[in-house]
Symmetry: C2
Subunit: 350 residues, 2 copies
DNA sequence: CTGTTAGCGCGTTCAA
DNA sequence: TTGAACGCGCTAACAG
């Protein structure tokens, strides 16, 4: 008789098929050393009883849960949503389940969640953009197998968006359009994403002495972008690179409200290619981070680890530049409505 | 010695503390019938060994996993993302984990995933907007405990957004502004969300004989809304209700491009209050579905079930009307640019 | 108050 | 080829 009121166990199947429970186990797991006639009897008995082996019991005996954990800083962030989506579908295709944990942007939570969820899964995919490198290095040791998203650590597989190349692409575009005075609206100061953009800018500036790029501390959302409009206009720059699309859209909206024409007076580029980027007026030039692919590839790496492969080098996915309507040639009235044209003085912030 | 290379077991702790494994179990689980001195010794031994009880083994013996499953049709959909986020955080606050499954909009997958994930969790929160009612009724029987989101079934707790009231609020607003000829851009024909909107419209039309509301089969995304612009304009309606914000934004963009002024020539309302709704030009009037609260409440219901409470009545969360810039009084030139004013003939579709 | 024992449901040796 | 017995790691009865 079934032990629990809800669950039929392997013993019930064994009894109904008139065999021992080990035969049931073997038959149902495709062990070839079983009489085909018995296999059929077992399968029928299992079907009649709607039997399915308990995943928990199997996990205990097999030492694997068919589940991986995904730790993200914020499920409300479209980028992590896309990563989760790509990851979830790829894992499901391999009959794996996904446990999600939202660290609410807290590094402490990230660490704790990674450790906790790891214990009930076969591995963890970690998105920890804010965690200090030393702490990350220490943490991943006890987490293996682990795959990092947009971070790296020794001997740990990672999938990364190549923000730096992407921003360089944007800079190249603006340069080709004749822009020589630009501003960069930066995001969270010490974040990886922001740092890599800054690196791209520094490298670009070094190789293009005729270009002035001013950094304007800004933020990561629409309102931050809108609030930077005055500063952008008065900077005299003819092009603005926003940390992301939200910032770009805020900036776009505010500068247009101030009478500045885009792209005639000011070119604007964003980052991420969020769904609405193509629907602004004019449509936003941006770079698309292949977040869903990032997730799918993160799973591919994790599966490799689970199958015993050696960790490979980090995979860098290069975002694609999407040139739309907010970028144009540096116009005759370059400099915007409220500033004089040409090379404005630049102040550097950190 | 530890059985596996990675895991230290309860036996190791017992040995180190010089007690039996049951004492360790009791001490670590806060069983009061343990000598305080021993508790301290056990805790120290556990700390030194960094011991944590295996969640899988506990799950097997306790019959509960501390995990719930969430099945959604599409992790790419902002509404489900918000639900998941609210749910995840609420569950985490109660030390529960969340297993997510994306059914990729397939009803078959929904059914299969619900059953599969249920076996490795303590219950499932099901978002299955497209599943036929009869199938849903049948499915939930074998899933208990289960909580439904935006669906109902006998004796099953549910949390629902009151689309009907929300749409009625929008209709009331438009009516108060003087609009008497409207169009509704409908979404997926047989979906619950669409049906409830249609019900609201039918009820409103019945109680307001002076109003004509035409249904225009449309779709659920930006492009669908844009593609409906001509039909909306030629309908002669002075106000358009879009199935959701994406549709509204597409419509808004396209009618404006056609020279139609919003809200002077046409009022537009959306649904959902997605993040960008407040940033369109003019800002979109819409109704906000409290998706994150829906998720949090879904967890609250699930927790109730897990604690043995009796299923309560469905919880209806009423979306809030957000009146912004796309709605205005019916103007003197009512009817739009390319149509005559007044009561246009209405064709009804399904 | 503590230790010993019996399962939780399964996969997998070991004999037969 | 099949069945009996063991153990995965833990909690909860049962004795002491």
């Amino acid at each position: 008789m079934p032990r629990g009121p809800k669950g039929v166990t392997i013993n019930d199947v064994a009894a109904r098929a008139g065999v021992s429970l080990s035969t049931v186990s073997r038959a149902l797991n495709g062990n070839p050393t079983v009489d085909p006639a018995l296999v059929a009897r077992v399968q029928q008995a299992a079907a009649e009883l709607e039997y399915t082996a308990s995943p928990v019991a199997r996990s205990l005996v097999l030492g694997r849960t068919q589940t991986v954990a995904v730790v993200v800083p914020d499920l409300g962030n479209p980028t992590f949503q896309a990563i989760l989506r790509g990851l979830s579908r790829a894992a499901a295709a391999d009959d794996y389940h996904v446990l999600v944990a939202d660290s609410a942007e807290s590094v402490d939570e990230e660490r704790a969640l990674a450790a906790t969820t790891r214990r009930r899964t076969d591995g963890v995919i970690l998105c920890a953009p804010r965690m200090p490198q030393a702490e990350l290095d220490r943490l991943v040791g006890g987490l293996r197998p682990v795959v990092l998203v947009n971070r790296s650590s020794d001997d740990v597989p990672a999938v990364r968006a190549d923000y730096r190349s992407a921003l360089t692409d944007e800079l190249d575009l603006l340069y080709a359009l004749g822009h020589r005075s630009m501003v960069f609206l930066s995001g969270v100061a010490r974040s990886v994403a922001n740092t890599s953009r800054l690196e791209a800018i520094a490298a670009f500036a070094a190789s293009h002495p005729d270009v002035a790029i001013e950094e304007l501390p800004c933020g990561v959302d629409f309102d931050a972008g809108a609030a930077s409009a005055d500063a952008v206009i008065s900077s005299g720059a003819t092009a603005a690179l926003a940390f992301n699309d939200l910032v770009a859209m805020g900036l776009l909206s505010a500068v247009q409200a101030a009478g500045c024409r885009v792209p005639d007076d000011l070119s604007v580029v964003g980052f991420d290619d969020i769904p609405f980027a193509r629907y602004t007026s004019p449509p936003l030039t941006t770079a698309t981070v292949p977040a869903a692919q990032l997730g799918a590839q993160a799973w591919a790496r994790m599966r490799g680890l689970l199958e015993g492969e050696a960790p490979r080098d980090p995979l860098w996915l290069r975002p694609e530049l999407v040139a739309r309507g907010t970028t144009g040639p540096r116009g005759p009235a370059a400099g915007g409505v409220a500033a004089d044209s040409g090379d404005a003085e630049t102040n550097e912030f950190d």
